[in-house]
Amino acid sequence: MLQDYYIPKSIADTLALLKDNNGRARIIAGGTDLVLDHQAEKITADAFIDISNIDELKKIECSDGYISIGAAVTHNQVARSQLIQEHAIALAQAARAVGSLQIRNIATVVGNVVNAQPAADTAVALVALGAEAEINSFSEVEYVPVEDMYAGLGKSTVDSTSQLVTRIRFAVPERNQGTAFVRLCQRKALALPMLCVAAMVSLKDDKFEWVRLVMAPVGPKPIRAAKAEEMLKGSPVTDEVIEKAAQLALENANPRSSLVRGSREYRMGVLPVLIKRALVAAVAQAK
């Protein structure tokens, strides 16, 4: 049963609190998922450590060729950030798609990743951006790619009772690179995606230099369309190639049937459309 609620002012204090509580305290940021999970008894904790008052975690910054998003940065901050809109439109669009205005005002992007749902919109965009998380344990800091932060369905590799993700960062995209995010959902707010796709393309001489193509929920985590990416690498930017990529993406997709969010057949039927739209939009961004 929850007994304590800490509101530390610094990363150091947060780590000290985690250590003192010895596995009984858990990090809370926006809490929009965590509080519900706690009420539903899906998680237990004796204490929450609220990181939303730590100034150094509330920033979106650009330095040393990286854009970084602090762990207390909300979806609306990301969606409205000029920096993100200019350099990583896919992430701005993904952040804008989550929940409702009220949820986006409080839910954090890092929380969206750590909650480890397979179709977390910002996580899908971040994987396409090649983002990595800065993870603080008691004594060390390590950088882990977002796509490697999944330990199973709905399970993160991050242990929020002993680790703190301080920020997520990705390299500032070059001028010849573009991103896009496409989402299929039953309504425009308060709806998890039936499908979402994020793409980042790097173009060179009218060819795809490389592509990161990410789709969800078609597996236990955001899934790279690896076969399509491989085919695209070095291929000319043409409608035929994009069409072929859209079909190849299906080979890495394994969606489930849901009475709420669409059958497998529908998702497989419509996934190529989304892949195509994402690639076309990302190419337009890169040009």
Binding site: S100, L184, A189, L190, A191, L259, S263, Y266, V273
Partner: protein, 766 residues
């Protein structure tokens, strides 16, 4: 009543709603806010199975948990059958209300059915105690589809169904002319079956009640009911307590209705009362949103068959309609809903030969009951789709075809009240102009992957529940000693602005200033009996009673003033709270304030009483939609929605438009995305706002509500009911627009992206 009066002082003006500021600031009190000294909190144990017999139940461990004050189940609560909906209090004579519920039973009939309830000093302890109740179930076979449930091999869900397997109450049959002859004489006959989904009201405030039982056994219940007086009658029967010892009231606000609490608020009131009796302390029951979804009445899903015969020139000649609705596990309004479906759908057009056959069927799903439209949207989806098919076959413009056949004043129809006025033609013309009907057919370029279409559908509705239910109203209008006015009427304000519009009527009829009129409402202890807020009736029917009471009070005032002014009462009138000589050039005048105090000092008060049985009046509406269909994903986007409505007379135009706009939003959800589906274990799959896709503000297209005023002579100042009409023909208007865009006729809603995607794919193949 002054339907012919043209210059109104308060009627027809969008005066500010009286509940607006306190609701916007959060100060308004709802059932969920009520807190009494010593009050306990209740939690309900619900069935995990769709159909099961409770073989054994042990509550002793739960009772022993510290903080638990009572545990209720079938063994310690009354074994008196009742019906949580108000149907048991107003089923019309010759028909018998279906009583098929106990507060708790030893058989559970749907996932979510009540097994037991705990009252404890906190919600947490009550929740914890639920886990300590040991229940042994014997699972029984279950059935979910109404057509399946009528088959021989289906389980019996209730005994005593006299009309057929699992059919509650009586089958509704309507006959006019001879349909067989009619079809034989028709040049074209189109017949189609339609499937409609289970929709949920999703009112803002979940079901809630607080019950208090005094030492003398007097019961007070604060609740979310739309009908305090009938709810008192239900509780009286369920607990064997006289009406006079029970008080039911709203505290005073109700967070929406849409039909979900006509009668009890699901079982919130009976459970609160049962626990309060056991615990001898006040008990509060508030449903979680999930409980509200799975364990309170929904709209009826089911099947509708429509067969329409027409002459070559487009004249409608015969209509055969059939409805089989899914009642769910308990009857609620499942006898009346098929009746409204039939009667309303038959009454839109002049058709000499008509027939209807309709009923509900019990299944092991959440009970279906009243929801805005009450069967009408189901029937109109079928009829208006078939009318569109006829237009196409005969190559007649769908607007022309409708205009040719719509009901006119004086036409024979199956309803026992006359069509007093119709502004339908004007609705069609104004709506067509707003949507840009002449652009239809010229919207798309060849090869486009997103295609547009425009559609229309029309419908009607009632202004109260007669002849489907018992329906009458009473009201008091009392002149206070200072000349201010107190209206007392037993209807609640469920968010429809009743506490603003009924005083508007009283002020207009009396001739007093609006700010001098106040209203007591939603309380059985301080208002005379009223059937309540449902069936679009509050302004029309309760309004008629308020106007009658105001007229009575005014007559008393004028007669009293006649002596004071030495002018005969017939020559007097009142305006702006002042009595004056209306006939002749006499300048004498006297304020109501002076009259009232003069009378008070001579031992007299003016008390007007209104006791009325309302007539009924059809509303008319034409809805238009422009849609865009994404041919690659199947997604349907509504670009613009128009609802042109004959409202009789808009007493408060802003409130009236709000009702229509809200209806259009609900109709849009019904058309495109709202549906409760079940898995093969009978579990509801859409049981939260995040998994049940009613439209959000972001999803709403441009909406235009057009008011057409036909001034129905039967209504107060010409008004008709507008509570439900806003969603009657919305779904077929959208489906017809999708047909116009894609050439695909959908016979099942909602038009989800998946359904449209596969229809487009199959269409391509064939």
């Amino acid at each position: 009543m002054s339907a012919d009066k043209i210059d109104f002082d308060i009627v027809g003006k969008s005066v500010r709603r009286r509940d607006a500021f306190e609701k916007v600031t959060g100060e308004a009190v709802f059932s969920t806010d009520v807190k009494l000294p010593g009050m306990l909190y209740a939690k309900v144990l619900r069935s995990p199975y769709p159909h099961a017999k409770i073989k054994k139940i042990d509550i002793s461990k739960a009772e022993q948990l510290p903080g638990v004050k009572a545990v209720a189940y079938y063994g310690n609560t009354p074994r008196i059958k009742f019906n949580t909906s108000a149907t048991m209090t107003f089923t019309v004579p010759h028909l018998e209300p279906v009583l098929d519920q106990y507060v708790f039973d030893d058989i559970v009939r749907y996932v979510g059915d009540e097994v037991a309830a705990v009252a404890a000093v906190s919600e947490e302890i009550a929740q914890q105690a639920l886990k300590l109740i040991e229940v042994e179930y014997e699972e029984l076979p279950a059935v979910y589809d109404p057509l399946e449930a009528m088959k021989e091999e289906a389980p019996h869900i209730h005994t005593g169904c006299k009309e057929g397997k699992n059919i509650p109450g009586d089958i509704v049959k309507i006959d006019m002319g001879d349909v067989e002859q009619g079809f034989a004489e028709s040049d074209l006959v189109i017949e189609e079956m339609f499937k409609v989904p289970v929709q949920k009201q999703v009112q803002m405030e979940t079901q809630a009640a607080v019950a208090q039982v005094s030492r003398e056994g007097d019961i007070t219940v604060w609740s979310t009911t739309q009908t305090p007086h009938p709810t008192r009658m239900i509780l009286s029967r369920a607990f064997g307590v006289p009406h006079s010892k029970i008080r039911v009231l709203n505290p005073p606000y109700v967070g929406g209705g849409f039909g979900v609490r006509i009668g009890c608020s699901a079982k919130a009131e009976p459970i609160a009362v049962a626990l309060a009796m056991l615990a001898k302390r006040p008990v509060k029951v508030v449903y979680t949103r999930e409980e509200d979804f799975i364990a309170s009445d929904t709209r009826h899903g089911g099947y509708v068959w429509a067969k329409l015969g027409v002459k070559k020139d487009g004249t409608f000649h015969a209509l055969d309609l059939k409805g089989v609705l899914n009642a769910g596990a308990y009857c609620s309004f499942s006898c009346e809903t098929p009746g409204v479906l039939g009667a309303m759908t038959l009454s839109v057009y002049r058709i000499p030969h008509q027939k209807y056959f309709g009923h509900s069927v019990y299944t092991n799903t959440t009970p279906a009951g009243a929801m805005r439209g009450f069967g009408n949207p189901q029937g109109i989806f079928a009829l208006e789709s078939v009318v569109d098919m006829v237009a196409e076959k005969l190559n007649i413009d769908p607007l022309e075809l409708r205009l040719k056949n719509i009901m006119q004043v004086g036409d024979p129809w199956c309803l026992p009240y006359p069509c007093g006025a119709t502004g339908m033609a004007e609705c069609i013309e104004k709506g067509a102009k707003s949507i840009g009907w002449d652009r239809r057919g010229k919207l798309n370029k060849p090869g486009a992957t997103k295609v547009r279409g425009i559609g229309v559908a029309i419908g009607s509705h009632v202004s109260n529940s007669w002849p489907f239910c018992v329906d009458y109203d009473n009201a008091y209008v009392t002149i206070q000693q200072d000349g201010s006015v107190q209206v007392a009427c037993g209807v609640p304000d469920i968010g429809t602005g009743t506490t603003t519009t009924l005083p508007q009527l009283a002020a207009e009829e009396l001739g007093v200033r609006f700010d001098m009129v106040n209203m007591t409402f939603g309380d059985t202890a301080s208002t005379p009996f009223d059937i309540g807020s449902h069936a679009s009736r509050t302004l029309y029917a309760a309004g008629t009673a308020v106007v009658a009471a105001a007229k009575d009070a005014k007559q008393q005032v004028l007669e009293y003033a006649a002596d004071l002014l030495d002018v005969s009462a017939e020559k007097l009138d009142m305006k702006d709270s002042e009595v004056f000589v209306a006939q002749g050039s006499d300048e004498k005048r006297i304020s109501l304030k002076e009259i009232a105090y003069h009378a008070h000092l001579r031992n007299k008060q003016f008390i007007g009483v209104g006791r009325i049985v309302p007539p009924n009046s059809p509303t008319w509406e034409a809805h238009f939609a422009e849609v865009e269909v994404d041919l690659q994903t199947g997604q349907v986007k509504v670009i613009k929605l128009v609802g042109a409505h004959d409202v009789g007379k808009a007493i408060n135009p802003a409130i009236c438009e709000g009702q229509i706009e809200g209806g259009l939003a609900m109709g849009l959800g019904y058309a495109l995305s709202e549906e409760i589906r079940y898995n093969d274990k009978g579990k509801q799959q859409n049981k939260s706002i995040s998994t049940y896709f009613l439209p959000t503000a972001e999803d709403m297209p441009e909406v235009e509500a057009i008011l057409v005023e036909s001034n129905d002579p039967s209504g107060p100042f010409g008004a008709k009911g507008v509570g439900e009409t806003g969603l009657v023909p919305t779904a077929p208007a959208i489906a017809n627009a999708v047909y116009n865009a894609t050439g695909i006729r959908f016979t099942e809603i909602p038009l989800t992206e998946e359904r449209v995607f596969f229809a487009l794919r199959n269409n391509k193949k064939s």
